[in-house]
Every structure is written in C-alpha cells, then in structure tokens.
Symmetry: C2
Subunit: 345 residues, 2 copies
Amino acid sequence: MSEKNERIRLKNVTSYCVAKEAGVSQSAVSRAYSPSGSISKSTRRKVEIAAEKLGYKPNAIARSLISKTSNMIAIVMADIVNPFYPNVLDIFVRKLQERGHKGLLFMVDRDQDVDDVLPQLMEYQVDGVVITSATLSSEMADRCMNMGTPVALFNRYVPAARAISICCDDVGSARSVADFLYTSGARRMAFIAGVENTSTSRDREFGFTAKVRELGLSPPIRAVGNYTYEGGYEAALSLFLLPQPPDAIFCANDLMALGAMDALRTKLNLSIPEQVSIVGFDDIDNAHWANYGLTTVKPPVEKMVELTLENLMNQVSHHDKPAHQASLPGELIIRNSVRVPVGVA
Amino acid sequence: MSEKNERIRLKNVTSYCVAKEAGVSQSAVSRAYSPSGSISKSTRRKVEIAAEKLGYKPNAIARSLISKTSNMIAIVMADIVNPFYPNVLDIFVRKLQERGHKGLLFMVDRDQDVDDVLPQLMEYQVDGVVITSATLSSEMADRCMNMGTPVALFNRYVPAARAISICCDDVGSARSVADFLYTSGARRMAFIAGVENTSTSRDREFGFTAKVRELGLSPPIRAVGNYTYEGGYEAALSLFLLPQPPDAIFCANDLMALGAMDALRTKLNLSIPEQVSIVGFDDIDNAHWANYGLTTVKPPVEKMVELTLENLMNQVSHHDKPAHQASLPGELIIRNSVRVPVGVA
DNA sequence: CTGAAAGCGCTTACAG
DNA sequence: CTGAAAGCGCTTACAG
C-alpha cells in the first residue's frame, strides 16, 4: 500500500509542482519547455532549478493530447527474418530519434493484412505511418490519409493509393543485372522470384525478363523462392532438374541467392562462378562474407529512408501536398559470384 | 486551408460526437469501450452503431493520460546487426501485441550509454522498459524503479540493480561446451570473446575456462572478436599465429563463429571439423545454413521473452514485488562443426 | 514577458 | 444501468 502510494506520488511531479517550487505560474513552466515560448532568462532559470530539484520531466502524453501531435511514427514490419530489414529498421529509428520522434513498432505476419493493425495504431494518434516489407490495401491507405495520418510505403507501392512510396529502381536495376550477366558470357538466364505478389519481386522479374529478351536470348527460366534462404536453396535445385539448366541465376533478394549458392556448391558440387553465376539484390551483410562474395544490387537504403521520412514529415505538416512516389537507382556491387569474361580485368 | 480544416475535423470524432449521435451520455460511450464498464446490451448496441457510422476510435492518448497507464513498453536495443536480436525483437513485439500492448523502440549505439535515452522514454509514460543487448547503470535502473517504471534486462544483468533480469545460463552452457569438446577429443581449447564488458561474454568465458581447467587441460588461449563476423574472422586468424594453435574454438556468439569458420576455411585452408572444431552461441538462422552446420548453444528465446514480459507486467501492476532475476538453461545443438570421437555414432 | 483560464478526449467515482 | 461532473497534465490564445 505504501509502495503503491509512493509510486503514484513519485510519478506526479507536474508542471504545477515545479511552478510552486519556482514561484512562477504553471504557464511559465510550460513555456520553459517550449521552443517557441517567450520567456525571460531569469524565469527560465528559476524553472530549470526547480525542475532539477524535483526531477521534473514534461509528460509527453499530456502534451500530445493538447497539441494534437504525438511525435510518434508507427513502423509496420513484416519480414524481419530477412537481414535486409533489421538494417532498415535501425536506420529508420535512428533518424526518427535524431528528429526528436519516437517509433512505435508493429510486426505483422507475411500473409497477414496490414489493414488489421492500422486501426489500433491510429488509436495512438501517430503522426504518420511507415510500412515496410508489406503492402496495404489502397482503401486503407486512403482512409488514413483522410484521417490526416499520412502513410509511406518503403520498398513497396500500391498503384491506386494516395500513399507516399519510396522504392529502389527495381526495374532498372534488374535490367542492368541482365546486361552485366550477358557481358560476362551468360546465355541461359534464370530468375528466382521472391514472394510473388510483392511489387519488388514482380518489378525485378519484369526488368530482368524484358532486358533478357531485348538481348535476343530466350526468356529466363524461373522458380519461386519466397524470399527465404530455404526457398532459394530449393528453387536453385529445381532449376537444375531441367533439361537445359541455367548458367546464370538472378535472385530477387540476397537471402535466396545465398541459399542458391549453398545448394549449388554443397548439393550439386557446382562451382561458382566458373559453372554458374549468381546475382542477388539487397547487399545484406552476409553477401560480403568471405565464403560468399555475392555480386548484388545495393539499394541506397540510407537515402531511401531519409527521403521517406522527409516526405512523411512534409505531409504531417502540410496535409495538402500530394503524396510523393519515387524510385532511387541501385548500385551494382561486383564481387566474385559472377564469372569475368575473358579479356576483362 | 480547406484541407487543413478537413484534417482537423476528421480527426475529431470524439466520444461526445458518438454520444450525441447515439442519444446517450458521453460516459456511456466510454463504458462501451471499457471491459469493466457496466452497460446494458441495448446501450452498447446504440453506441456501436453510432461509432461505426462516424468512424469513431477511442483516443488512446487521452485514455493514457487519465488512466495513468499507456500500455506502451519501451524496447531499447543496441545491436540489431547481430542476427540474434531481430528475432528477439520480433518475439517481443508480437507478444506485446498479443497482450494489447505497444512497443516503443529505441536504438542506441553499442558504446552509447543507455542512460541517455531513458529520460526521453520516460516522458512518454511507458509502463515498463525492456533493455536488450545493452547495459544500463544501476543508478539509472533504480531511478526508473523509483519512478514506478519497472526495467527488465534481457540477456544482461547488473549486479547491484533492482532490475528484472532474464538470461540464458551462460556459465552452465559454456561448461557443457567445454565438456562436449573434450569428449570429442579436443585438447587445446581456445575462446573468442565478444564485447568484453558484457555479462554474456564474461560469463561464457568464465564457465568455459573453469570447466577446461577442471578437465585438467591448460587454460584456453583467447582472442577478442567483439561479437562481429569480422571480429571473429580476425580473432580466429590470430589464434593460428600462435606456436600452439588450438584444435577447438568456442566463440561467445554465432556471428563470430561463422567468421572464424570462414577464416579457417578460406584463408588457412583448414577443414572443419577434421582439423579444428568450432562451437558458437545463439543458434541464429545462419548457423544451420548448409555451408556452416554450426554446433551451438540455443538459448530458449521464446521462454526468455515470455518470462521477461511476465515479470515486467507483474511489476507494472504490483510495484512492491521484488525484481526477479533468472537464467534459463540453453540447449546444445549438435551439427557438423565439431568432430565426432571415434566410436560414437 | 507573464498569469489566469479554457480545453485536449478520455475514465471514474458519485449519486441516482 | 445511467448521467453529470471532476480531473489527468499539458498548450495556447487572451489580456495585461
């Protein structure tokens, strides 16, 4: 009982307590903590001393209620098992912190609809929503926008929606990969798809296939790996059951590419890149591990996050601005999983 | 301007609006959303219809302010680059969601003091704090406790603090590793430490070294890998510069163990496990990749998270209960990175 | 620059 | 079961 009282008492150092201690009004205390509050140096000093003495910290919840901005951004993630996303999350949260914002994190299953969690996150009056490695319906996106809560899709897009969307240039990057593989001498191309209904997998396949055709080759054979290591492993094996196995495989992400490499080397005893070239997408940490040296497309993650947040914050303060959609060029990182054509250093 | 108005208007569907629409009092609306609210079926129905019509969602911020519980738990993470932690985070957030709680995520640098972010997270009136892969001072832990905000350390502990602490049994698990390696025929043991001032690295080294001594072997030679892949890679190489290189290496985590494996195989052309045995700690996804097959200690992560949250929630509602400290046994997962002694299947 | 006062959107005794 | 009212801890016009 006494403990319980203690807890309540201790939590309750309010601006009134500080005002009393400092001999000023409660408004003065509030102003001392507001960047735009006009307050004299001496009053501020008095408040600071009293606050320090009492251990006062402004209550952000009360502030949110009255100011109608919580400084919280919801982050919805679906696929943290893919090592690409922890890094993305890390950058998001750090950049949020730099701007004085907080990240409210939600995890959804891959097959779960993001629409389900949106209502509960709206209850927390977040200023905006970032959705990563997941898609939401365009109706839901519109509903958020209508409620004044802007939504940004990271690495995904929904054609019809009024949502911000920042992607890597999947189509263009995939075309470069096809080009690069062709130059390296590959002629029988294969593609391992990720989760098939994602815009990333579709666009990477589209760009790759289109360019392969333009190069005059027969369209890539394909398999599906669902963006997992195991999926890539199995998909790669399946490609080598075909009468005409590929001499180059482009995987829709690195994780599948690493699975493919392990499958080819440990199971089929093929050597990479001598017999088969492999290219991935994401440039996750594992890609440069000594054992892999995976050639891959590196999306400009830092820039993408920055741009996402910039656009989101923009919409938070100027709701009337149109939602921005952008795709940034990826960079081809050349390592050792693709053979080098004769005559090229 | 009209857009701005629209935003404000649309955000403002309050319990009063619903009350008016439903022809009941505002209290009735509130009760309809409270599990303990005594309300008749018919009134509830009226409220539900009106709420549906207006698109009303209770404002969790306002609720937090009056009820003095935000249903938010802060999660502080330092080391998301280690694949062990994204998984931990995932489980934490999902379990939080199951309980109707939200996770407020903070990222700190490895060398940054967690003490720095605590004040800003306290402003958001979180009900509790989970700290993962990071340590905080015992003074700060006490300060949180005094403010009525319980703190739980996951996979770390601070001897003097009144904080909850849930760990894997690092000492015991490390002893088992020594035992297992000995049985497999290893006689010149080595240890690769993580970040040296962490309780996990220290305890794993302590248990391992103690058991190695008890077995009558000379104490393990050691190197430091700072819990990273590159660190493990370099540390392993350094061990083989010594006049008496080891025939078995226990690494304080998997990431370093994988780095060590790659170093030995690709750089020194040693075969694992024939020439050197390797054991890790964590059982991250990569450990069972076809190329590695790492023998490792698997902490009961799911149980540890559950226990952490259980203890935390307990302290949230009963502040007087003493903080619980526990360490759960890890499981040795045997794969192919340790040689099997002759005569053993 | 400063203080008194209203109000953000809820929950919860209180009285019926 | 129900409603009127107080109050959570702030911000922000408003008047000085």
